[in-house]
Every structure is written in C-alpha cells, then in structure tokens.
Symmetry: C2
Subunit: 267 residues, 2 copies
C-alpha cells in the first residue's frame, strides 16, 4: 500500500528536491525522472525507481502496473499532493508522477560496441536540452547509445532526462575523457566521423559502415582541432543561408539519419 506525505517540510521531500543539484545526485547515487510516459519507457527498458511519488487522484492503468512492479521489487510508493510534486520537480507544469532512480553505470569499459551500428559521441556538450534531444534522436535512429567526452552537462539532470523523453533508459550512456575514449575506440572496429565547419567532404558523400561513431562538438566552439585530427572522416552539412552552423542536436540528427538511411537503402 502506498504511504502518504502531506508536508512540504518532510525530510524525504527535501531529499528528492535536492536531487535537482548534480552534487546531491552524485552523493546519493540517485536521479529523478518525471511523467508516466517516461517512467513507463523506463519500466519497459527494465528500470524501476527506488521511490515513486504520485499525486492523489492520479488514475491510469500504466500507473497501477508501475506501482505493482515497484512494490514487488521492494521499492517505496508514496502518494502526495500536486503542490509537493511541484516542489520536488521545480517544473511549472509538474507531472503527476515522479520516480527516483539509482544512478546508471556510465563506464565506457562496459559498453558493447557490437550491440549497434551507430554510436553518438558528444564532446563538452553544455545544454541539457540538447543532450536529452540527442538521446531521443539516438533512440530514433537505432543508435546504441551516447558517449559523453570531457566536461559535458550531466545526463541525469532533470532537464536532460525530460528532453530525452525516456531515451535515457533505452540508450546506453558512457562518460570518458577524450584520451580514454580514443584508446577504447582504437581497441576495436569502428570509424570516427567528426562533424566540422572546416571539413571539405559533404556529409552525403561517404558510404558509412558500422560501427560508426558520430562525434559532435561543443555548441559554441565545435570540436577542438586536435580532436578533429583524430577523426577517420570529417564531414560537413551544407549551409545554404547566412548562418555558419546548426544547433548541435539538429546537426547530430541530420547526419545520424543520413547514416541510417544509407543502411536502410542497402538492407
């Protein structure tokens, strides 16, 4: 049976609320995901929250399924008010369901590159919305996951989880410094495809082969030259107007779809 929390000052409410900060996520080894849709995606991918909060009055068959599985797994199910959920999530239009999940393993060593033909690699990505959007694109293009290089924004931030629309749970996520990534990459098959404004090759020119590692750089700076130099291929998306670049998540998607479209045609 769900227990109830009705006070803003409750210790657990404060603890969950603190998970909006990276420091606390790290310390507690927990992160937040919101919304029945995302929590259901997570459940279908094999992830159950340690704690589930739902607003009094929320009724949905998917919520019943979720509650049943969480209770069977020994998790904590808590009924509370919409106001308290708002306080925990900090969102203007809070979802009526919120889950607290154990941190995912993001070690590169555990990534199995043979699990997918396409992998997305992002370097010093700063915007959580872009990160989540790239995860969502990774899912849609059948990528295996997202490898985060250097000082990227935390993929477990509330904003990134939201923007991923559940793809955080269907995509493998790894984090690594550049040197460690390169060493891992070169320990097996795979082509590193960098996107660069300086590239001469149009992104539609190459015939891409799996496993393809699509590398995108920081939103403002793009890839460092030294990183570009390590790429097996540098490609550019044609810019037909005045602008010299696309949004990072958009550029990632345009090239990722080109890669998988080639494979769809060949299949």
């Amino acid at each position: 049976m769900p227990r109830q929390i009705t006070a803003f000052s409750n210790t657990l409410v404060k603890r969950v609320r603190s998970l909006r900060d990276k420091k606390h996520r790290r310390r507690e080894g927990l992160f937040i995901a919101e919304g029945l849709r995302i929590l259901t995606e997570a459940r279908e991918a094999g992830f159950l929250p340690e704690m589930l909060f739902f607003a009094t009055g929320t009724r949905h068959a998917l919520l019943d399924t979720l509650i049943g599985e969480i209770e069977a797994a020994g998790g904590d199910v808590i009924e509370t008010s919409a106001d308290i959920l708002h306080k925990m999530s900090g969102k203007d239009n809070p979802q009526t369901v919120l889950g607290v999940y154990p941190a995912l393993d993001t070690s590169l060593a555990r990534l199995d590159r043979s699990a997918a033909g396409l992998w997305i690699v992002a370097q010093s990505l700063r915007d959580p919305g872009n990160l989540g959007t790239i995860l969502r694109t990774g899912d849609a293009t059948g990528a295996g996951g997202l490898i985060l290089i250097d000082d990227c924004v935390d993929p477990f931030s509330v904003e990134a989880v939201r923007a991923s629309m559940g793809a955080l749970f269907t995509q493998r996520i790894a984090t690594a410094p550049w040197a460690d990534f390169l060493s891992w990459l070169r320990g097996g098959p795979g082509e590193l495809i960098g996107t660069s404004l300086k590239a001469r090759e149009d992104y539609q020119a190459p015939r891409y082969a799996p496993p393809a590692f699509l590398l995108v750089g920081n939103e403002a700076q793009g890839l460092p030259s030294a990183y570009e130099a390590e790429c097996d291929r540098l490609v550019k998306i044609p810019m037909l107007g005045k602008a010299d670049s696309l949004n990072a998540a958009v550029a990632t998607a345009v090239i990722a779809y080109e890669i998988v479209n080639q494979w769809r045609r060949a299949a």
Copy 2:
C-alpha cells in the same frame, strides 16, 4: 558619441527590461536581441536597432561598425555596465552588447512565396528554443522563412531570438490563423507537406518540388487530424528504436535537409 547609464533604476533600463515580457513587447513595438554576432547578422540583413547598449570596455571592430551605422541612422547608443546589461537581459552569462529593435512585420500577405523553394510552417509550437532552432535550420536549408500558425510562442521572445542565432533577421516570419494560412496557400502554387506519426509514406519516398511548405505540429500533440487532412502529402520519419517521435526542431531539420538534398542532387 555614446551616452552613459550607470544606475539600475534608470527609466530606460527598466523599459528595456520590461521587453522580456510579450505584453510589453506588443505595447512598445520593440524587441531585444543580444550579442555582437547576432547584431552583426542583423545589420548585414539590413536591420539596425533603435537603441544599442554595450558594456564599458567592450572593444571590437564590428561594434565600431555597428555604432557608426546606428548613429548615422539617428539611433541611440548607450554605454553601460555589465551588471546593468545583465539586469536587462536576465541571462546568466550576459552578452556585452544588446540591441532594441522595432517589431518586424509578420503579415502573411506580404510574404512572397516565389522568393524561396522551401518554407517552414509550424503549428502551435510552444518552446522558444525550438522556434529559434527551426529559424536557424530554415536559414541553413535556404528556406524563405517561418510561418507560425495558431498560438505559437512569440518569435520575438528573448529565448527564441537567442536560439535563432541571428536567423530571426534572415528568415521572413509570418503569423496567421490556420484558416487564413490555408486560404493564402491555395491562392498560389505550393505543396503542403505534413509530418505525422500516422503517415504511411516514408519522408524519403516523394520527389519534392518547390515551393514546398513543410508543416510541423505542436511538440506534444503533433498536428490536429483536420490539419493533416488538408496536407497534399503526409510523411513520416522512420523510428528505429522505442521512441515514437523526435524533438520538433529535429524532425523539421531532418525533413528540410531531405528536401534540399533532393534539389542539390538535381541541380
């Protein structure tokens, strides 16, 4: 010669700050754009601000050019502090240059469809970041502009202008209710291409012809069925994972690049 403002309480500072609200933008017929890069894009596209604010100590040849042209046009150039610029823009890392522009004409009647092969049409788009990103994609794909249908977020919001990276000034922007848009569209040549999860046709299957009007729906709901029924074509992007949709700006870009890639190959 630039004049100086040094007090937070200055009437002009408060007036500019108020332009972060749509209500005040409407009333004043003004909007804000920030950053030397975006202001330079605007200048190159023929748009000068009525007022330019810059932080004391900012030095750049492009700023000198901007100041010269604004003063020649009778505009107001104001030197101030980084703190006051922060107060006006509300951004954590404020740009050191801020322009206040007269509102742009967004009437559909003035749009010349023959000016470009591709036009993007967005319906009830709610996220200013998505709107700005779509403008940036429109510029990159050589689109003529963005037509905003029904109750979209304000394209002149600070967030949308920022995300557009200057494309707000290179793309034509029109706003119209659906019925007015349809009537205008059918008064000339052009194919209306809707993106829909329910579509049967893969987005790579058709041969697109200019002028192409690419219609994307609201982030959460997609297009209303009645709007889909008016489309000449409904296409879908293949979803190869668990997710059933892409971010709206990403989906727009993937299809827009398919359209212009077909035209690049034919050229």
